[in-house]
Amino acid sequence: MISATPLLTGLATLFVCIAWATLLLPVSRLPPAGRVLVVVIIALLVMLPLADYPGWYYVRGVFGDSSVIALFFYLALILQQNFSWQLFQEDELVLLRRLALAAAILLYPFALGLTQFDSYSLGYSNPWLLTALCIISLFCWLRKYYFLAVSITAAAIAFSLQLLESHNLWDYLLDPLFIVLIMLTWLRPPLSRVTPGTTAHVRQSTDL
C-alpha cells in the first residue's frame, strides 16, 4: 500500500512534482539531455533532505496525496508534451474537464459546510456513487474514450484496495491541485510551445 510504504509514497509525490514542473516550465523546448537534467534536479530537491526531512515531506504536508485520476492525467500530459504520445483525444479532455468541474462543484462547497448535506460522506460506502462512476466509464467506453474509462476504473479499483491513506472514494477521483490544473488547461490561453510530432489541435488544449 502506498500509505504504508514510504518509498512508493515518496515516488508518487516526486511524480506529481515532475508533472507540475514539466507542465509549468518550458521543459518540452529543451533537448532530451536538458529534460533529463530537469528531472534529476527535481528528484534531488524532492527526495533529498531539506532541513530535517526529505523535500516530499513538505509537499505532502501541504497538499496531501494526489488522486488516482490526477496521476493518470499527469502521466498522459507528460507523455504527450515530452514524447508526443497521445493517450487521450481532444473531446475526451473536454469531457474530463466537465466531469471534474461538476464533481468539484458537487464536492467542495458541501464538504466545507455550505449546507447540512455532506457530499463527501457519500464516498465512504455509498454504492450509488460507484454505480454512477460505472455508468460514466461505460459511456466513455462507448465513445471510445479509453483513457478516461480506464482512469475512472483504476480509481475505483484503487479505492477497493485502499491504496491511498484515505478510505473515501472522492479522494481517489479528484484533488484540489488536479482541479486547478484541469481548469488551467481550460482557461489559460495556449502558449506557443511546439512539441515535435504533437498535432496543433491537441497542443492548444494541453500546453500551459
Partner: protein, 388 residues
C-alpha cells in the same frame, strides 16, 4: 470489436465488480452505555485541587483524561513554549488511585515522531483526545503542517500497554480539501460493534460540528454532520439511548455571541435537530459534560460569561427539568492579575466509582486537577442557587 476495446470493457466490468463487492457494510451505531455507581453515602464530601502539569513547558493547554482499566487516571495535554510554537508535544501522566500519587510526566508524542511516521512535515501538535477501547488506549490528536489551527488534521496512535508505549501514528483523512481543518477536542463514544464515534469539527471556511465513525482498525467508515455554516464547533457527544445522541457545542458565530448550542439526533446519527441555544452563557469557549443519569441529568462545566473566560463554573440539569442550576464555581479571576482569559478548556471525567476529576487550563501555565466525590457533588446540589 478490437482487442483494445474488448480489453477496456473487461477492465471496467472487473474493476467495478471488485469495487462494489468490496464496499464495507455500514451499520447504524448502537452506543455502549457506561454504568457508574451513583450512591456513596458513607464518604464525607471531599474536594481537592492541584496543578499537575509541572514546569516542563512554558505553556500548556487542552487537557483530557481517561480512567484506565485498573481505575487509575491517565491525563494528556499539550505543551510548548507557547500554544502554537514548533516545540509543542503531547504530555501525559498517571494518577495512581491506590496511593493518590502522580507518576512522572512523559512526553508521549512529538512533532518529529508524527512527521516520521506519517511522512509529512509537521509544524505543531495539539488537542489530545483519548479513549479506552478494550485493552487499548486510542490517542487522537491534531497536527498542523502549515498555517494555524484551521489547517489541522487528525492523527491516531494506539497503546496496548496502558500508555507506556505507543504504536505507529496513523493519519485520518476526513476532508477532501487537502485534508485541511478537521480537529478534535472531546471524547469519543464506543458502539456495541466496536466502532468509535469521534466528535470532530471544521474551522476552514465553514465552522461546523460532525462525527466520524471509525472501525476497529481506526479507519473512517462514515461521517455524520451535526451542524453547518459557521455557528458551532467542538461537539460534546453523549448517548441519549443506545441509538440516539445529544450534542453540546461551543459557539463560533460572531453574530450571536454568548451562546452555547445543543442538538439532538433524530435518525440514529444521520439527522440532527436545528441548533438551539441553552439558557447558559458561554464566551465561544470549550465545554465539558457528564451524564449523571440517562438521558438528561447532566453536569456541564463551562466559562459562565458571554465574552470572557474568567471563571470555571459547573451547572446541573435534572431529568425532570430543562432548566440549568449553577452549582459550583471552581475559579474566579483575581482582578489584579493581568491575564486575559485565564481559565479554559475544561474536561470533566466521571469515574466508575461515581466520583469526578476535572481538568482545565489554568492561566495557560498549568493544567489544574480538581477531584470531588459524589458526596461533595450532593452538597453542591443542596446548596446551589435557583434554576435559570
Amino acid at each position: 470489436m478490437t482487442a483494445i476495446r474488448l480489453g477496456v470493457l473487461l477492465v471496467i466490468a472487473c474493476g467495478f465488480t471488485l469495487a462494489i463487492s468490496s464496499l464495507p457494510e455500514i451499520q447504524k451505531p448502537a452506543f455502549v452505555i457506561p454504568e457508574y455507581r451513583t450512591s456513596d453515602q458513607d464518604s464525607e464530601p471531599l474536594l481537592e485541587e492541584a496543578l499537575i502539569s509541572g514546569n516542563l513547558t512554558r505553556e500548556v493547554h487542552s487537557s483530557t483524561a481517561i480512567e484506565l482499566i485498573n481505575g487509575d487516571i491517565r491525563v494528556f495535554w499539550y505543551g510548548g513554549s507557547r500554544e502554537g510554537s514548533k516545540d509543542t508535544s503531547i504530555y501525559s501522566r498517571v494518577l495512581n488511585r491506590a496511593d493518590n500519587s502522580w507518576s512522572d510526566i512523559e512526553k508521549v508524542m512529538t512533532r518529529q515522531t508524527v512527521a516520521r511516521e506519517t511522512h509529512r512535515y509537521i509544524r505543531k501538535l495539539g488537542n489530545p483526545v483519548a479513549l479506552v477501547n478494550g485493552d487499548e488506549i486510542w490517542l487522537f490528536f491534531v497536527s498542523v503542517s502549515v498555517g494555524g489551527w484551521a489547517g489541522s488534521a487528525i492523527n491516531l496512535s494506539v497503546s496496548e500497554d496502558n500508555g507506556s508505549t505507543w504504536g505507529p501514528v496513523k493519519r485520518l483523512i476526513s476532508s477532501p480539501f487537502m485534508n485541511l481543518s478537521t480537529l478534535v477536542k472531546n471524547a469519543p463514544l464506543l458502539t456495541e460493534k466496536g466502532d468509535v464515534i469521534l466528535p470532530a469539527y471544521h474551522e476552514f471556511l465553514g465552522k461546523f460540528a460532525e462525527l466520524l465513525q471509525l472501525d476497529s482498525s481506526g479507519n473512517i467508515t462514515n461521517k455524520y454532520r451535526i451542524s453547518h455554516g459557521r455557528e458551532a464547533i467542538q461537539p460534546f457527544l453523549l448517548p441519549a439511548d443506545t441509538t440516539h445522541a445529544i450534542a453540546f457545542m461551543r459557539n463560533s458565530s460572531a453574530s450571536q455571541p454568548g451562546k452555547l448550542w445543543f442538538s439532538r439526533s433524530q435518525d440514529n446519527l444521520a439527522d440532527w435537530t436545528a441548533l438551539e441555544a441553552l439558557t447558559l452563557l458561554n464566551p465561544d469557549a470549550a465545554i465539558t459534560v457528564v451524564q449523571l443519569n440517562m438521558p438528561d441529568e447532566l453536569l456541564l462545566v463551562f466559562n459562565n460569561h458571554p465574552t470572557e473566560k474568567e471563571d470555571i463554573s459547573m451547572a446541573h440539569r435534572s431529568n425532570s427539568s430543562a432548566a440549568w442550576q449553577l452549582v459550583y464555581r471552581f475559579e474566579t479571576a483575581v482582578g489584579s492579575e493581568n491575564i486575559h482569559n485565564p481559565f479554559s478548556y475544561p474536561f470533566l471525567l466521571q469515574t466508575h466509582d461515581g466520583n469526578f476529576h476535572l481538568f482545565y487550563t489554568w492561566k495557560r501555565e498549568h493544567i489544574k486537577h480538581v477531584y470531588f466525590n459524589r458526596a461533595a457533588l450532593l452538597e453542591m446540589l443542596a446548596t446551589a442557587g435557583p434554576e435559570s
